[in-house]
């Protein structure tokens, strides 16, 4: 457990050491970077979860400082009016600031304007994206006219007995995200998923976890480990295998590459590869959170 916590700590070190790369307005032009807006949203999600476990961590304080400072920038908030499909990301960031910092950001008007316009609800989306939108709006108490959780769930890949051998990475992410939105321990909607579906969902998550380990997809491995936690289900051998896979792949600076490069037979390749923020921030952020969740389970490492 100690090395699991240490591993998560190193991942958080890497995040804190690369905060500038999360700043949507940190580029050479005044126009915000959409990619960094999304990265900032992911940073908000991590900060929100970790802050509840580590309220005095100075690295998280720095994360919240960046989040708060960005929310104060007009270029950032106005960008939502031009890119309404980013609404869930803005909502996630807002929720983190409100819940953990007690802030009332000034973007409420922009969000209401985007919602009144209807684009995020009317545009064509994956079912798991509509589920996310409802989840984020509800978490902030913002009224909407989206369908019920049950109806949204029944549209997702999670509700269907997909043949595991055919599930693509894209579908796997739809499955993991639907679990995140429906089984979030902070905002659960457990009664939405029929009891008879739970065993099948657990089995599919277990098989996908095993396949992701075999295929060296560390990003999916970590997402699926979180799913196990959210499903309150501990397939010990698979969780142990997943944790070992990630620990082996983590680089000395804490970074987690999205794919296990050692699968190609050369461990040195990962160590020598330059930091690639765009591909590595997501698994590294996730691991900082996942290692903490798993350590509560006392998963050996």
């Amino acid at each position: 457990m100690t090395s699991l916590l240490q591993s998560g700590d190193r991942a958080l070190d890497w995040v804190a050491g690369n905060l500038a790369a999360f700043d949507p307005l940190g580029g050479p032009v005044s126009q915000p970077s959409e990619f960094r807006i999304i990265a900032l949203g992911e940073l908000a999600l991590l900060s929100r979860t970790l802050h509840r476990h580590r309220p005095n961590d100075h690295r998280l304080e720095r994360c919240f400082s960046l989040l708060a400072a960005t929310w104060e920038r007009r270029e950032y908030t106005d960008w939502l009016l031009h890119r309404p499909f980013l609404l869930p990301v803005y909502l996630a960031t807002w929720a983190a600031l409100r819940d953990e910092q007690g802030r009332q950001p000034n973007v409420h008007a922009a969000i209401q304007a985007v919602l009144a316009d209807g684009y995020p609800i009317l545009s064509e989306q994956w079912p798991s994206q509509r589920l996310e939108l409802r989840y984020r709006l509800d978490a902030l108490g913002i009224p909407h006219h989206l369908p019920s959780y049950r109806r949204l769930y029944m549209e997702t890949a999670l509700s269907k007995p997909l043949p595991t051998r055919l599930i693509s990475d894209s579908d796997s992410y739809c499955i993991t995200h639907a679990i995140f939105y429906l089984m979030d321990p902070f905002f659960p909607h457990e009664d939405v998923i029929p009891r008879s579906h739970i065993r099948r969902i657990r089995d599919i998550v277990g098989e996908l976890l095993g396949l992701s380990i075999l295929e060296g997809n560390l990003d999916l491995v970590i997402e699926l480990l979180i799913c196990c936690h959210y499903l309150r289900w501990l397939p010990r051998h698979l969780v142990d295998a997943g944790v070992e896979t990630v620990l082996e792949a983590q680089l000395p600076n804490g970074r987690i590459p999205p794919l296990r490069e050692s699968a190609s037979g050369d461990n040195a390749v990962s160590a020598q590869r330059p930091d690639t923020f765009s591909s590595d921030f997501h698994p590294t952020l996730l691991w900082a959170e996942t290692s903490l969740l798993l350590s509560e389970w006392d998963v050996p490492s």
Partner: protein, 310 residues
């Protein structure tokens, strides 16, 4: 699992697939047994015999005129070209030879050459067993069980799976990352423990460790990486263990059906390294494995090993 399948359209799909796979056995060179005995010709003839037997049992419930004709040709070739055939048999999988011997008996085309060959295998195994102090390896045990079915050996008793002799058990990650030969060893062990699905595995949990929980993952991975033979064999092992999940079975049968070509052949798409338009040589071994697995999924009462018992 299988009784549920039997009721629905999935059963109809499997039945159609087995029928198409059976039809493919008669196409092209596969029907010409005497064409090339130097390579795999005669072994393929035995594989066709077993595949036909499996199809006839689950589709018709009896031996068809085609298998009678095929069996008579095999017996005639063995009688006329004994020396040459024995050299081929020595290179064959022993279990295949023994099953073929049992099928020839069942269709009244008993082959003295094959019977003698099986007796010699049995004598060799009996001698080896007397000298051996270690547990029997799974493939050898399976041959012994089949020879016992034909009355060539006494009952070898239950299969005993030896635990790893040295060191601690592999960590879960090591077990999951098993290579194909290691996975095949696990499949052989399951086949031996269940006598090819003829009896429940005795207390499979402690004996097989994590293997039963890893089988669905290995199966999906095999199909995802175009290893049709391995995927089909894993599916059959899943079937042999108790409490097989219908979703997992459907996942496996769907993969096999998906790899059936319009002419009934089961094959993966050509590898990326192969030139466009070049079709790989048909594998009767793959056809046999797929038909065997589909047949046992389709019909809960059919087990190949049981079907050739005297």
């Amino acid at each position: 699992v299988t009784s549920n399948l039997e009721q629905g359209r999935e059963a109809a799909s499997l039945r159609t697939s087995v029928a198409a796979g059976r039809k493919w056995l008669f196409q092209g060179d596969n029907d010409d047994l005497g064409r090339d005995l130097r390579d795999n010709g005669f072994r393929s003839a035995l594989e066709v015999l077993v595949a036909l037997w499996i199809c006839d049992q689950v589709l018709l419930g009896r031996a068809s005129p085609e298998i009678h004709r095929h069996a008579r040709r095999i017996s005639a070739i063995m009688a006329n070209r004994k020396g040459e055939i024995v050299r081929v048999l020595l290179r064959c999988d022993a279990a295949l030879v023994v099953v073929a011997c049992g099928i020839l008996r069942a269709v009244d085309s008993r082959s003295d050459v094959l019977e003698e060959f099986c007796r010699e295998i049995a004598d060799g195994l009996r001698l080896a067993e007397q000298r051996r102090d270690a547990a029997t390896e799974a493939p050898v045990y399976l041959t012994m069980i089949l020879l016992h079915s034909l009355g060539h050996l006494p009952d070898p008793g239950s299969f005993r799976l030896e635990p790893a002799r040295e060191g601690p058990p592999d960590r879960p990650l090591q077990q999951l990352l098993a290579d194909d030969p290691t996975i095949q060893q696990h499949l052989d062990s399951i086949s031996a423990l269940t006598q090819l699905g003829d009896r429940p595995a005795p207390n499979p949990g402690p004996t097989l460790g994590l293997v039963p929980t890893l089988l669905p993952i290995w199966m999906s991975h095999s199909f995802r990486t175009f290893k049709l033979d391995l995927g089909a064999s894993i599916l059959r092992a899943i079937l042999y263990l108790e409490d097989a999940d219908p979703r997992v079975i459907r996942n496996g049968t769907g993969a096999i059906l998906g790899h059936q070509q319009s002419d009934g052949e089961f094959s993966c798409p050509p590898g990326l390294e192969e030139p466009i338009g070049v079709r790989r040589k048909p594998s009767i071994g793959t056809q046999l494995l797929c038909l065997w697995t589909l047949a046992e999924c389709l019909n809960p009462g059919f087990r190949l090993a049981r079907s050739v018992r005297v």
